[in-house]
Symmetry: C2
Subunit: 229 residues, 2 copies
């Protein structure tokens, strides 16, 4: 099977698990499907990969097009591919899922394809109300995010460019669903080499002593890792 007519034809899509932290809870960006199948159901944003673009490009493009989110501020990585033969009743589709971690954003803008888009707390998404196999993709994405916070500086992708230790801690608490000791957390992240860069700036957030404002440092891993036990 080597002639161009011989290989099975697939449609290839990218689906996006876009996560953010709002009001102390992890949220995922969902769109409501306007077409069959699964018309009216919530789904992950996504779309077809174009004939001439890389998978990563396609994901970034769909992210901007369909959700108005620009990758620059956050983090985009490939999550995995899903290609069960019957996952889409119309045709054979392989979806390359991507994970996006974004700072809290004003409001989801419904894109061209989607009837509506909304941030939904991940623990309020019932598995059976998502289209296709998106419940599994979402679960894999959330688990990936939870695991990566342990040993990577990725939590900062949920924050604005300048942030305080408390804001960073709030991200961990939201993603892990668990309260962390502010003193130990402060010690760990400030002592991890290259993780945070002190801007010298201070910021007072309502009550309490003003907090130092940091930027992301050059570190690519957190050693030793934080523990989510």
């Amino acid at each position: 099977m080597d002639a161009p007519e011989d290989w099975p034809r697939f449609a290839v899509t990218v689906d996006l698990v876009v996560l953010t932290v709002r009001d102390g809870a992890l949220h995922v960006l969902l769109v409501r499907r306007g077409e069959d199948p699964w018309r009216g159901a919530w789904a992950l944003p996504g779309g077809f990969v174009r004939p001439v673009e890389d998978l990563h490009e396609a994901a970034a493009r769909e992210l901007a097009e369909e959700t108005g989110v620009h990758q620059a501020a956050g983090h985009l990585e490939q999550l995995g591919s899903y290609g069960a033969p019957d996952r889409d009743p119309r045709m054979r589709v392989v979806s390359v899922a991507h994970l996006v971690l974004a700072p809290d954003l004003p409001e989801p803008t419904a894109g061209t394809d989607a009837a509506a888009a909304a941030w939904v707390p991940v623990d309020r998404v019932a598995g059976d109300e998502l289209a296709f196999d998106h419940a599994r993709i979402l679960a894999d994405g959330v688990e990936r995010a939870r695991a990566k916070l342990e040993y990577s500086p990725l939590a900062a992708a949920f924050c604005a460019e300048r942030f305080t230790v408390a804001e960073l801690r709030a991200v961990y608490e939201a993603v892990w669903g668990r309260a962390l000791d502010p003193r130990n957390f402060h010690r760990k992240v400030t002592s991890a080499p290259g993780l945070l860069v002190d801007t010298g700036e201070r910021r007072t957030e309502g009550r309490g002593r003003p907090a130092a404002v940091y930027r992301r440092g050059p570190a690519t891993t957190i050693a030793p890792p934080l523990s989510r036990d």
Copy 2:
């Protein structure tokens, strides 16, 4: 773009990074291409996904067909997808790469498609002698394997069903390319709950005191992780 004629058609393949430990070194299974493009170059084994099979099934099938390796003994997981528009000059191909960790096997059996197959030490694979983007896929697979040994019981996938602590340590040393202290390694793996099950059996390997023989335990993670520093 919703009619079946509208979406771009892709070929979807699975490529396999099959790793094993031989003679104290990490080896990868390569096949020599018998057809253009890249005729005569080494490549990762792989092939087209069939119209009705899941990606994981396709990887397991290609593994058995093309290399004679049966997954049962080892470990098979998805590594990631590669879909640069120009990665195959013939057509638009998205490859879903999989990572296989297998015990040392007698000899690679050249499969139907491949002119030849061979175990090659990974540190002797020159990047520019691999077909397509397989050098990058291989690098990603090796890095995934190295990282996973830290916190998962996956090293046992490189061993036979029953193995000694020294054999397990040899796997770590081969994959990480670094000598480990036998005493500290022994302490860590035997004290990690659920990692090893003592079979009661002993085995004497040439000289030295006979070693206890273990099977894999039910643990899915190693806590605390081993460190490869």
